[in-house]
Structures are given as structure tokens and as C-alpha cells.
């Protein structure tokens, strides 16, 4: 029997000793001070008073992040202190007087460990009290006391027990504090930085990665996973502690006593291993299920599917289960007799009964599939099928098209905290079900590698009836009707899908512009009404205006009678669905908004006002209080109308990385995806092509600066991929998901350009608008669309689509410098822009020319409008190996010309060309149109030899001398991309290729650039020469240096300073030629004339310069 008295005695004095040790005291003070500053900054924010919404919005986040930070450091300090206690004990005879006392080794180790634990519990209590105080005094922040306890139990306790166990155990084995410390520190670093969330968070003993965000709706929502994971570490910790008992260098009380501790040690180890298996097993099991489902789906590829005309679904919420009856009226519209077919229903739901036309049948159930046979439905036949089922949702069955690993590793969270990713909830207090969960039977298989049925849509009439537990509100699509806890939803229009949400909601609704606007909130989450009270009268107007703006942008009316914003648990997560363009956060007539908008900074109205008052521009400060609120509401609403979220800027080893985040609450799917469907069995991506075309207008053009930072835009990467692969291949390549969105968009542009070239831009857009209106809420087909196009414009799309889908060829264009003059056209002065363009490749193509006309200011997030710029767009079609001379007459002064080569070999794909000073040319004859000419655009004139950096003969010389320290500290970004972004303030330390319209090049306008240095790094042009003689040498120089700066930070003196030094090796030796950038021309600059023998021309450019960077592009020789 263990003597509690002994354990308590040892613990008591261990605590005294530790609490009095300076090491611990200093650590505790630093931890408290650091967290004090952190809480001050994020909750009180003395600068602006705004604080951090991602911390403030959900009260549970406060203890969560505080403990996360403490936990990392305390894990290290525990190692030190606990390995120290053995060292302390080794001090000669001091411990002997304790060791001779009548206590067991188990009591001794238990006392020591308990003492250590208590000390850290005290520290945790201090830290939590500190954050609680901040929590209480911070403005507009709720307090979740339960969360304080939960996070302590879930984060700190298992970590402490585990790391204590490991350190004591290792110390007992290694018997050397320094070695133990180094080993354990390495382990901490490994688990924090490398293992992190790998292997299903298995190694995340600090709980730094496992998602632990606690929702006001559903709490953790993943208790099971958390208990298993944290329990595993508690077991391992206890096992290590117990093992240390038998390893203690003290003679045991009795022969048996040491061995006895091995029994629980082994039991705890077994427990830990079992929990570990359970933890990993759950994930594995899910993977296995997903893979089986995919295979099953592929088996269904040759089976016909039925069309569901209507659904009558009644759902009863039974706590942790749902019980449903779904009556489907189906018909056979496949055009042939259907004997076998299949439906999908979530594998977590068990079918109890199936009635076919009122007669019970027993279709085979295989995971999610319900397989019907012997149906004998002739074309046009109808039938009714009634499914009765109950159970819960297995979320592993969702998003089968996504790679399991990528799915698991996709991070969801804010700052340092992680949020669990859930796709469905069936809990006593909350239910959330979407079509992706397959909570009702659908007549398709889900994703399979071959099976594209999952991309299909049908529009059916839905009648949904929900019986909730008392006190809960049900939400679904349609006109709601409530009778006690029975909710009915009637839909007048067919829908592609329905969702059901049940929770403790408070509803606000208002009719705006004929639309029912509903807002469902968790009780106590209405933090904004009071703030917006002042502008209450204007809110409907602002919302209506915002909606209209968006309707104009996408050229579609909002198709539903209601718009419902539902606050959902923060854990609800939807993955981007690149191949269908939908996002589950958007449901027909509904948007799921994350709890309190914790992930949306603009949801923090009061904070945003303070932030903008403190950091914003002057114009905000000058606004009236009402106007400020209006602006902030508009900013918030823009979170629904912008396709991209805030870009993520990060600096990784010298290069600025910008990652574009798709905005999950972007409402576009409400305008297209849930109202239209253009089906094609042959090209299932067709609907997405239309969707992408409509969506293009919503894209933020201002994201162009990202290209400068990243080096190659996603569009260009898409083009690079299309050089080697067909569209069809890319769609099936899981490695290309990053660019597939761009590929789809570009292929769409190319497809529609064929019609537009014939019909004209406006006529086509009007046609599309009318066509879509005529097919709203029903599925149509590409054949139908093609027919109507043929009727309207005489273009037959279908024959073209085959090569559009499968061809691997891409056009490539050479474009001459445009010349612009002002000419009199009748009695009006117009600007005539002339240039030549050649498609040098063996496939036809289309380019788009855009002129920006007028004198408008730039776009800005808070400015909106104010610009008089007008864009004139022209399309040019070029057959294979064709050259055209183009001339346009423009009303007004063009400020610039951009050439978008769409799908082509050209990089940059969008070139901005300078028109220079436009003067009047009295002799010029006004002309608008294109002429096919024989002489193609060439890069080099007669007698010129050009060597570009893309050519053979150009090479760069990197110095190999890099100190070890440099290597370790300043890791050069090597992302594997051929072209890097251009950053003038942080140019790379080695030559790197980058692209720009201003550089010289055939298809790829690229150059190498480098930070100025000591001249040891050189770019070398080795120019092959056949004929000896005098040649004038030119270098292509781009003077513009300010590209790649952060947005909105222009200004200042941008005229380039410094010089480039070229070394020319000629027959009479070598000569250094210096080009002063201030006086140089953009383009070719002469370096002088020299005599060269054949094959001997070498021109070098070193990185020695007083300019910030050096660019090496092209060199030209012109025979004298």
C-alpha cells in the first residue's frame, strides 16, 4: 500500500524547493509577463483599443491561446526541473538521509512527480487567472469559465504528466542531465516543428496542432478524439513514471515492491498503445472507408440513374441520432429502360425500410450505396420510393474527391490556434446536415476516379418536415411554418439540394427589396445590433445596394425568394470544390457564417472602427459617426461579394510569399451553382466552364501585384501546364489542383471567345443572360446550349469542343511594339493604335487586347468608384502561323494597352505595353480593322544577332562561397519554381530568373536578376558569330525598378540610380563599359562597336553596381 502521508510529505517539500528556485521563478515571471503583454495587445490593445477579433470573438479562445503558449514553454521547463530533481538527488549524501527513511521507491517518485505537477498547476492557475482578469476587463468579450477548466485538463495536464514521465525516465536511464536535456529539447523541437500535425497529430503531445477550439454551439465537438489522444499521453506519461520507480537507484523497501510498479507500468503502456491504435485506427478506418467508397462508385459507372422529381422528407431529431423518412417521386429520363440503379445515403445511416410504389422491397446496401435491381422502368415511367432510415452521419464519407492526406493537413484556424474541420453535426443540442453529408438519398454515386456522377445535379421539389427536441429551432430551405417543435418547409421552386440545421437559434428577419432576409443567431451572439442601431434605417438600403451591385457584376439576378444567414459552429468547414465550384458554406438561399464571424475580421465592427481611426487613412477619421458605421457595414458585406479572402503575406527567407485564399462565404454559388446546371456526359466540366465564365467578373483585378511577388501567376502556371498536357489530362491530375481553377477559367475564355469573335462581346453576354434565365432551376445540356448558339450566331460549338478538350497544342505570339498616333477621323480626333501580331505555332488561338481609356484614379478598397476609366476590349483570332496587322481607332486617350494571350505559350501571359507620348499625325489615314500579312513579327532585324537569357549561350556564374552560418540563417528561397517574383527591395543573393512584360524575350519575357554585390557573380552571354568584323554591341535594359513593391506604398523618387558594368571580350582584349541607368533608355542601349572573330564574343555583366539590383536580359550584335 502506498502511504499518502509519505507522498504528500515528499511532494510538499518538492513544491517548496521548486517554488523557491530562481530558475522556476524567473521562468514564471517571464511567462506571466509575456502573456500579460499578449493579452494586453490582443484583448485591450492600448494602440487602438480594437484588439484581435480572432481572439476576442469566442470567449473560449482566450484560455486556449494562453495555455497553448504557456504549454510550449512549460514543457521545456518541466524537462529541466524534473531532470534536475534526480541530479539534485545525486548530490552526494544529501539524499541518503531521505533514502534511509521508511518509504517505498514508488512513494518517493510519486511524491516527487506530484510535487512537480502541483508547482505547474499553480503556475497554470496564475496564468489562467491573469487571462481571466483580462477576459473580464476587455470590452465586449464574453467569459466562458468552463473553457478555462477544459483547456487546463486537455492541454496542460496530459502534457505535464507525459513530459514529466519521459524526462524522469530518460534521466533514470541516461543518468546525465545535460544529455537528457539535449535529447528532450530535440524531441520538443521535432514534435513542434516537424512532426506537428503529421500522422494524424499522433506526436502532438503538446496539443499545439490538434484542433481544440471550443464552440458556444457544440463545445469541442470532437471529445472522442480529444479524450483518446490526450488519454494516450496521460497513459504513456504514467507508464514512464512507473518505470522510473523500478529504475530508481535506491534499494527497494522489499524484494517485491519495485517489481510491483512494473505491473501498472505495463498496464499503462498497454493502455497508451491501445489508445494510440484507437486514435490512428479511427483515421485509418475512415481512409479505408473512403477508398472503398471510391471503388464502389467506380463500379457504378455503367448504371443509369433516375431523375428525382420531388422529395418529401420528414426528419426527427432524436438526440445523437436522426430518424428520417424520405419519399421520392422518380422518373426514368435516361431514354432507355432502367432495371438497375443506385442511390447514395450516408453510410452512418441505417436503412430500416424501403417501399417501392408502396410495396416493401429489400435493395442491397453496400456502404453508402443502395442498389436497386429488377426495377423495369421504361423510358418516361415514374415510381415512388420511400426510404426509412436512422442513425448519424459518418463525415468520412464527405469530400471523397479530395486527397485524404491533403485534407487532413489543410490547416484551419487563426493565429496559433486550430479549429476542427466538421462537415456535419448530429448532437442532442445541435444538428447540421448538408447535401454533401448525403443525409437524404440522392440518385447518384459519389466520387470515383472514373465516375463523374458526383458532379451532376438535379433540380427537385423539396418538402421538408423537421421535428426537433424541445427548445430548438429548425432551419431549412423554403417557406417555414412552425407548430410547436414541428417545422415544415415548402419550396415553390425546384432545388438542387437542401440542408437542415437545428439549434438554439434566435431569429431576426426583415423584408428588403422583396426578399426575405433572415438571420439566425446563437443566443447572446448578437454583438452588433447595438453598434449598428444608429444606422438601422439605412441597413436595408445598404444591403439592397450591395446585392444589386453584385447582380450587376455577375449579370444574374438573385434567384431565390429568401436569403438566410445562419450562424454555425466555428468547426463547420467546407473544402474548396474546384471541379464543381461550390462551397458548402453556401447552400441554396443560405449562407453559413462561422460562429460570431471569428474568422472574419470585418465582423468586428466596433474593433474595425477603432483600428481604422488609429491606423486608417485620414478620410475615415473625417467621416461622421453614421458614415463610419455604413462604411464598416459595407466592408463586412464585401466578405460575401469578394471571391478572394485577404491575401496571406508571409516572408519566407527573403522572398515575400503571397497566398491567395478563396473566400468561403463568397455568395456566387447562390447566383449560379444552385440555380443553373448545364450538363454534359462527355465533358462533365462544362457546367463549371459556364460558372467560371460568370464568376470571372467578380475577380479582384487588383490581385495583379501578387504575380509580381510570386513570379508566375496561376494563369501562367496553368499555361505552362497546358503546353504539355491537354485539358482533359489536367482535370484528372490530382497534382494540378492548385492551378485547375485557372485552367478551367482560361479554357472557358478560349471556348467562349470562339462565339464572341463571331457574335461580339455584348451580343454574346446578352444571349447568355437570356439563355440562363430560360433554364433557371432546371438541368439543361451543352447540346441544348450549342443548338441555341447555332440558331443565334451560326457557330457550331460541339465540333470545336473535342480538340478544345483534348488538344495539347498551344499558340504562341510575337507582338510588335504598338505605335499610337492621333488622327482626324471625320471631324473627331481619335487615337489610332497599330501593331502586328504573329502566331508562330501550329494551332489557332485568340488574344484579347484591352485599352484603358480616360484619366481615372486607381481602385481602392475604401474608395469605390471615382474613376473615369473605361476599358475597351478587342479580340483577335489568329490561325496557325498567321500574322495580322491590327489597327484600332479609339475615342479618347488610351493610358495603356494590355495584351492578354489567354491560353498560350507566352509568359507573362498578360503584357502591358507602353504607348508613349501620343502625337497627332496629320498624314496618317484613319483605319480600324485587321489585315493578314505575310511578313511575320521578328525579334531580330536583318544583320542582327540577339542572345536572350532564355537562349543557349547564356549562363550565370554564382559564387560558391557561402559561409555555413549564412547557409543556416539566410536560406535562399528555393521553391522549385523556375521564375521567382520580383522584389526590388529584397533582390535575391544569387541570380534568379523572373518575368515581366518589360523584359526581352520570344514567348517568355524573362531576365535574371540579383542583388548588387562585389562583382563576383556574373551573367555571361556567349554569342555565336559566323562572320568576323566590326559589330555594335547592345544590351537590353529595363529601367523600371519599383515593381514588386508592396501595394499602396509607391511614391518617392523612382528614377533609377546607379550603373551596370558590362565587360566585352573582343579581339583586342577586353573592355569595361559602364551604362548609367539614369540616362539609359528602356530597351536596347549601345555598349560601343568592337571587332570580333567568329565564335569569340563574350559579354559579361557583373553584380557590382551602386544600384540596388542588377538585371541581365539580352545582348544584341549589329554588323557595322
Amino acid at each position: 500500500m502506498l502511504s499518502l502521508h509519505n507522498i504528500h510529505s515528499i511532494a510538499k517539500y518538492e513544491i517548496k524547493t521548486l517554488l523557491r528556485s530562481w530558475f522556476f521563478r524567473i521562468f514564471a515571471i517571464i511567462a506571466l509577463l509575456f502573456l500579460f503583454l499578449f493579452n494586453l495587445g490582443t484583448l485591450i490593445d492600448p494602440g487602438s483599443g480594437a484588439g484581435n477579433w480572432e481572439i476576442k470573438a469566442l470567449p473560449s479562445i482566450i484560455p486556449y491561446v494562453n495555455l497553448l503558449m504557456l504549454n510550449v514553454v512549460q514543457a521545456i521547463v518541466v524537462i529541466f526541473l524534473s531532470s534536475d530533481f534526480l541530479k539534485r538527488d545525486k548530490k552526494l549524501d544529501t539524499t541518503d538521509v531521505i533514502y534511509v527513511r521508511p518509504m517505498t521507491n514508488g512513494e518517493y517518485v510519486a511524491g516527487k512527480v506530484w510535487g512537480n505537477l502541483i508547482v505547474f498547476v499553480i503556475l497554470n492557475a496564475f496564468v489562467l487567472s491573469e487571462s481571466l482578469i483580462f477576459n473580464l476587463i476587455a470590452e465586449g468579450v464574453g467569459v466562458n469559465l468552463k473553457a478555462y477548466l477544459y483547456y487546463f485538463l486537455v492541454i496542460s495536464v496530459p502534457t505535464l504528466i507525459y513530459i514529466l514521465g519521459v524526462s524522469v525516465f530518460l534521466m533514470s536511464i541516461l543518468r546525465n542531465q545535460a544529455v537528457t536535456f539535449v535529447v528532450l529539447l530535440g524531441y520538443v523541437a521535432l514534435s513542434l516543428f516537424y512532426l506537428a500535425n503529421k500522422f494524424y497529430y499522433f506526436f502532438d503531445y503538446m496539443a499545439f496542432n490538434i484542433p481544440l477550439t471550443y464552440s458556444d454551439f457544440v463545445g469541442f465537438g470532437n471529445w472522442h478524439t480529444i479524450w483518446i489522444h490526450r488519454g494516450m499521453y496521460v497513459c504513456f506519461g504514467l507508464a514512464f513514471i512507473l518505470l522510473s520507480v523500478s529504475l530508481l537507484k535506491r534499494l527497494p523497501q522489499s524484494q517485491m515492491s519495485n517489481k510491483i510498479s512494473l505491473v501498472p507500468a505495463v498496464l499503462f503502456f498497454a493502455g497508451g498503445i491501445w489508445l494510440g491504435f484507437e486514435h490512428v485506427g479511427n483515421f485509418r478506418q475512415n481512409q479505408e472507408l473512403r477508398s472503398q467508397m471510391r471503388t464502389l462508385n467506380d463500379d457504378k459507372i455503367h448504371e443509369d440513374i433516375l431523375t428525382v422529381k420531388s422529395y418529401q422528407i420528414s426528419l426527427e431529431h432524436l438526440g445523437s441520432q436522426i430518424a428520417c423518412t424520405a419519399r421520392l417521386d422518380v422518373s426514368n429520363e435516361s431514354g432507355k429502360a432502367v432495371d438497375k440503379t443506385h442511390f447514395s445515403l450516408n453510410p452512418g445511416l441505417t436503412i430500416e425500410k424501403v417501399l417501392l410504389n408502396g410495396t416493401e422491397i429489400h435493395p442491397e446496401r453496400n456502404l453508402h450505396l443502395v442498389n436497386f435491381s429488377g426495377l423495369n422502368l421504361q423510358p418516361g415511367d415514374s415510381a415512388s420510393i420511400e426510404f426509412t432510415y436512422r442513425g448519424t452521419i459518418n463525415e468520412a464519407a464527405c469530400y471523397l474527391e479530395l486527397d485524404d492526406k491533403a485534407m487532413q493537413e489543410e490547416k484551419y484556424g487563426q493565429m496559433m490556434y486550430r479549429i476542427d474541420k466538421r462537415h456535419a453535426f448530429v448532437l442532442p443540442e445541435y444538428v447540421l446536415l448538408t447535401r454533401e453529408d448525403n443525409w437524404y438519398p440522392v440518385p447518384f454515386a459519389t466520387f470515383g476516379k472514373q465516375n463523374k456522377e458526383w458532379m451532376q445535379k438535379q433540380f427537385s421539389r423539396f418538402e421538408v418536415q423537421v421535428k426537433t427536441l424541445p427548445g430548438l429551432t429548425a432551419i431549412s430551405q423554403g417557406e417555414p411554418e412552425q407548430n410547436g417543435n414541428l417545422f415544415k418547409f415548402n419550396n415553390k421552386k425546384p432545388l438542387s439540394q437542401v440542408s437542415v440545421i437545428i439549434g438554439p437559434y434566435e431569429k431576426k428577419s426583415q423584408k428588403i427589396d422583396g426578399l426575405d432576409f433572415n438571420l439566425y443567431l446563437h443566443p447572446g451572439h448578437d454583438y452588433f445590433s447595438k453598434y449598428l442601431e444608429e444606422i438601422n434605417d439605412t441597413i436595408p438600403g445598404i444591403i439592397a445596394e450591395s446585392l444589386k451591385d453584385f447582380e450587376r457584376t455577375v449579370d444574374c439576378y438573385y434567384p431565390f425568394a429568401r436569403f438566410t444567414l445562419v450562424e454555425v459552429p466555428v468547426q463547420f468547414y467546407s473544402y474548396e470544390r474546384i471541379l464543381i465550384g461550390e462551397r458548402d458554406q453556401i447552400q441554396p438561399e443560405m449562407v453559413f457564417f462561422p460562429e460570431k464571424g471569428v474568422t472574419v475580421r470585418d465582423a468586428d465592427f466596433a474593433g474595425s472602427e477603432k483600428r481604422m481611426a488609429r491606423w486608417g487613412r485620414g478620410d475615415f477619421a473625417n467621416m461622421t459617426a453614421k458614415d463610419k458605421k455604413v462604411t464598416l457595414l459595407q466592408n463586412f458585406l464585401s466578405n460575401f461579394t469578394q471571391s478572394s479572402g485577404r491575401p496571406n503575406f508571409s516572408r519566407s527567407a527573403g522572398q515575400v510569399q503571397v497566398t491567395e485564399k478563396k473566400n468561403p462565404t463568397f455568395v456566387f454559388p447562390l447566383f449560379y451553382n444552385y440555380a443553373y446546371y448545364i450538363k454534359s456526359d462527355k465533358w462533365p466540366i462544362t457546367d463549371r466552364i459556364f460558372e467560371s465564365y460568370k464568376k470571372e467578373a467578380t475577380q479582384d483585378q487588383r490581385m495583379g501585384f501578387m504575380r509580381e511577388m510570386q513570379g508566375t501567376s496561376e494563369n501562367e502556371k496553368a499555361n505552362l501546364a497546358l503546353v504539355d498536357h491537354s485539358f482533359a489530362e489536367l482535370l484528372n491530375d490530382p497534382d494540378q489542383t492548385q492551378i485547375i481553377d485557372n485552367v478551367i477559367q482560361m479554357k472557358g475564355q478560349a471556348l467562349f471567345s470562339i462565339i464572341k469573335r463571331k457574335a461580339g462581346d455584348d451580343a454574346f453576354n446578352e444571349f447568355l443572360y437570356n439563355y440562363l434565365r430560360s433554364v433557371k432551376f432546371k438541368a439543361t445540356s451543352i447540346e441544348d446550349f450549342s443548338l441555341r448558339i447555332k440558331e443565334a450566331f451560326g457557330v457550331d460549338l460541339i465540333p470545336y469542343m473535342e480538340s478544345w478538350f483534348n488538344s495539347k497544342q498551344l499558340p504562341g505570339y510575337l507582338i510588335s511594339n504598338p505605335k499610337a498616333v492621333n488622327v482626324m477621323d471625320g471631324d473627331r480626333l481619335k487615337t489610332m493604335v497599330k501593331f502586328k501580331v504573329t502566331n508562330t505555332e501550329n494551332t489557332e488561338g485568340i488574344i484579347r487586347i484591352e485599352f484603358r481609356i480616360g484619366d481615372g484614379g486607381g481602385p481602392g478598397r475604401f474608395m469605390g468608384g471615382g474613376s473615369n476609366t473605361e476599358t475597351v476590349t478587342k479580340l483577335i483570332q489568329l490561325d496557325a502561323n498567321q500574322t495580322k496587322e491590327i489597327s484600332y481607332l479609339l475615342d479618347g486617350n488610351p493610358r495603356g494597352m494590355s495584351v492578354n494571350t489567354l491560353t498560350s505559350r507566352n509568359i507573362p501571359s498578360e503584357m502591358r505595353l507602353q504607348l508613349g507620348n501620343i502625337e497627332e499625325d496629320k498624314k496618317a489615314v484613319p483605319f480600324e480593322g485587321e489585315k493578314i500579312v505575310d511578313k511575320p513579327v521578328t525579334l531580330a532585324e536583318e544583320g542582327e544577332i540577339i542572345l536572350d537569357n532564355e537562349d543557349k549561350g547564356f549562363r550565370i556564374e554564382q559564387s560558391t562561397e557561402t559561409s555555413l552560418l549564412q547557409k543556416l540563417l539566410i536560406k535562399e528561397e528555393n521553391s522549385g519554381e523556375k521564375y521567382v517574383g520580383f522584389s526590388s527591395w529584397r533582390a535575391p543573393r544569387d541570380w534568379r530568373a523572373t518575368t515581366s512584360s518589360n523584359f526581352f524575350g520570344k514567348f517568355i519575357r524573362s531576365a535574371y536578376y540579383i542583388r548588387s554585390g562585389d562583382g563576383s557573380k556574373k551573367a555571361i552571354w556567349n554569342i555565336p558569330l559566323k562572320e568576323k568584323g566590326f559589330y555594335e554591341v547592345y544590351a537590353f535594359i529595363d529601367k523600371e525598378e519599383r515593381r514588386g513593391g508592396p501595394p499602396g506604398r509607391g511614391g518617392g523618387d523612382n528614377s533609377p540610380k546607379g550603373e551596370y558594368t558590362f565587360t566585352i571580350y573582343h579581339d583586342d582584349g577586353k573592355e569595361d563599359v559602364t551604362v548609367d541607368l539614369n540616362t539609359a533608355d528602356t530597351g536596347w542601349n549601345s555598349l560601343g562597336a568592337f571587332y570580333f572573330s567568329p565564335d569569340s564574343v563574350v559579354v559579361e555583366l557583373s553584380n557590382k553596381s551602386t544600384a540596388r539590383l542588377v538585371i541581365a536580359d539580352a545582348v544584341k550584335l549589329v554588323k557595322q
Binding site: 510538499k12 517548496k16 541518503d96 538521509v97 527513511r101 521508511p102 518509504m103 523497501q253
Partner: protein, 268 residues
Amino acid sequence: MFGLLGPNGAGKSSLMRILVTLMEPSSGTIKINDLDITKDRGKVRALLGYLPQDFRFFSQLKTYEFLDYAARLAGMKNKSQRNQAVDKMLEEVGLYEARDRKANKLSGGMKRRLGIAQALINNPKVIVVDEPTTGLDPEERIRFRNLLSTISTQDVIIILSTHIVGDISSSCQSMALLNLGQLAFTGSPDQLIAEAEGKVWLIKASDSEYMEINETYPVISNVPTDYGWDIQVVAESINGYCGEHIAPNLEHAYVYFMESKLNQWTTD
């Protein structure tokens, strides 16, 4: 009080450590109150108090805390009894005034007294004290010896290990001599002294004889005098040197014993 005497490396400390269950004997048995120290460690430990040779304290604990810690582990569960015992013990060893001082800030003698206090707490039956007076100044050493003598009047066995003969002669009723891990003598100090009766000489030697004597006999002391040297030696006879018997003390007896019985004494 039982004294254990022996030269450095004789195995005194090892024996002590075996006695207090810190080390396992490679062979043989030791029984305390009929309890086998290898089989009944738990019970044996409850009877023991131990003051090790090089004893320091956990740096962060105060004097009374350390004693309280020891008292708790010695099995005193009752708080008020324990507090009384601790205070009483602190008074007995003269540390009551220093009760709130950090234990490692005490002087060498005070530390040793605190050491004996922690060994004595909760009335152990056997106290093992290993080299307790090493490094103490004479005053502290005497004080400590007296303390041990006082304690020995109580119902307790004190086993004192030392290589300082004075410690034993002044306090032990019985003793043992340990050499190279073997027990060479057991008995009272008087018995050991008696063995050396007539074997200790005081030689009055000239300068020229000085070297010779020092090379021939185990010398206990050399005292220079007006006429040369007074040299104390241990020997059966002194072969013509001018000298006389003197009454042996324990130190003489120890040297004699080591020399004659064990041939362990080396002359430098």
C-alpha cells in the same frame, strides 16, 4: 555508543551504508532487532537514523523545514506532535534560534548538529553517524562529541564511524577496528589500550639518533627539546636507546595494533 575505527579506505563508510540499507551487502547478513536488513528493509529503515559523511541540505529549505521533512518521513504523522518534536530537537541541538534560517546558510558545526537532529527525530533505535567531526574546529568538535555523549545516555544505539581516534576515546564504550574490510578488533577502548600496555616508549634522542629511530620504529610524535628530541614510539623494546615506558592512550593503542598485529603501519 559504538565506535568504528579504521584507516581511510578500510570500508567504514561502506559498512555504514550497508547498515542503513543504502547498499546491498555482497555476502553475509546483518540483523537489527532480529530484522534482516536485506529482507526487512522497510522495518529496518523505521528503526534507523543516519548522518552521512558529506552531508549538505536542499538549498531551498529552512532549518525547521528540513527537520520537519525528516520527521514526516520518519513516520510522524500527527502534526502537533511533529511540531513539538521538531522544536524540542532544535532546542536540544541548540538550533532553535536558527530555525528560520536556510539550512545551507548554517555554519559547519550547526549543519552537523542539524544533521544529527534529523537522524534523531522520531526516536530511532539505531543512529549511524559517519565521520561526523571531520572538518569541524576543535570547539565545535568537542561540542558535537558532548552532544553525542548526551544522546547515548538515551535508549539508543549510536554507531560512530571515524578515523579520528579522539572521537572514540572520548565517547564510546565499545568499539571495533576495521581494516581492509575485515574486523580486526572488537571490545572496549580500554581493552584495546590494555593490549598496548608496556609497548609505548618515550625516547629522549639526540639529533643524530633522530633519523635512525624514525626509520626503525612506528613513531607517534616527535617533540624537539633543549637536548634533542622527545620521541614517542610503539615497540616491544627500544634496543638501547635512552627511554622509558609511558601509559598508552587509545591513539597509541591504535598505532600499536595496526603495527604489530596487522603490519599496517608505515613509517614515512
